[in-house]
Symmetry: C2
Subunit: 141 residues, 2 copies
DNA sequence: CCGCATCCGAGATGATACTG
DNA sequence: CAGTATCATCTCGGATGCGG
């Protein structure tokens, strides 16, 4: 695995892509990528995961303060979805002033790791994308 | 790098998450991950990339046939967006029956590689997610 | 303090008809 | 063949008020 590494990799990628799109379109496995993207591709899921991943656990309103611009409703909705998928753990303390702690599960942490990988790609290629947008902008806009 | 690999990695992830959420909220770099997700997180971009990545190049209607359920309009919109970001190359042949070929650029291929990584995570953890959904389903639904 | 229910506007998506 | 234009729809997200 020393020579033609790039070519080998390119072939593998193509095969992986083929495999993904050949899956029948009516199962959870339809496209694992699609499914994950539908989950974290919305407006707030990723930010929530990021914030939860940067600490051990956070209370509802603590999280609300940190995620600039999120509404109460969307924080609730987002956290519920993440909880449903086993990415976030919700702990309720039956105290007089209700207290609820949210934290990433092991599954959530592993997802965060994967997403940060994607983030590294994004950070590395952001200039190239920005340049492409500039160039197209002058022609089409 | 043999001992406490997991712990080290966990700390790195936490730091990476912190770094990402600390970026000021008004730049392209706001969150490279978010930006990429906004691009490929829509309904058709990822599927388009996947299909284009599984071959060398495809014509418009060829692609349309392969992406089940996409409308002509959305394919156009999606391809234009990907082209704007330099992920897809569009080649027009001025022939009598118009012919337009679409193909992934180098940038697009590298993104595909990153996405497939995420796909591997998704495929590996799909059972865990399905199980979590089941469990929550019985409680909440 | 935490969170749910309802209502509503904006943007994304889809169906259809028409053009180079 | 490869789009564009227009209209209808549909889901998401935000504002507000109520309940545990």
């Amino acid at each position: 695995m020393e020579v033609t590494t790039a070519d080998t990799q390119a072939t593998e990628i193509r095969e992986a892509a083929k495999k993904i799109i050949t899956v029948p379109p009516d199962s959870f496995a339809l496209c694992p990528v699609r499914d994950i993207l539908d989950r974290i591709g919305d407006k707030w899921s990723l930010l929530s995961i990021l914030h939860l991943g940067s600490t051990d656990s956070l209370r509802f309103n603590e999280l609300r303060k940190r995620i600039t611009g999120i509404s109460q409703r969307m924080l609730t909705v987002t956290l519920r979805a993440l909880e449903t998928d086993g990415l976030v753990a919700r702990t309720v303390y039956a105290e007089v002033p209700p207290r609820v702690e949210y934290a990433l599960t092991g599954l959530g942490q592993s997802l965060l790791a994967a997403v940060i990988e994607l983030g590294n790609w994004a950070a590395a290629h952001a200039p190239a994308i920005a340049e492409a947008r500039e160039r197209m902008g002058r022609v089409a806009a």
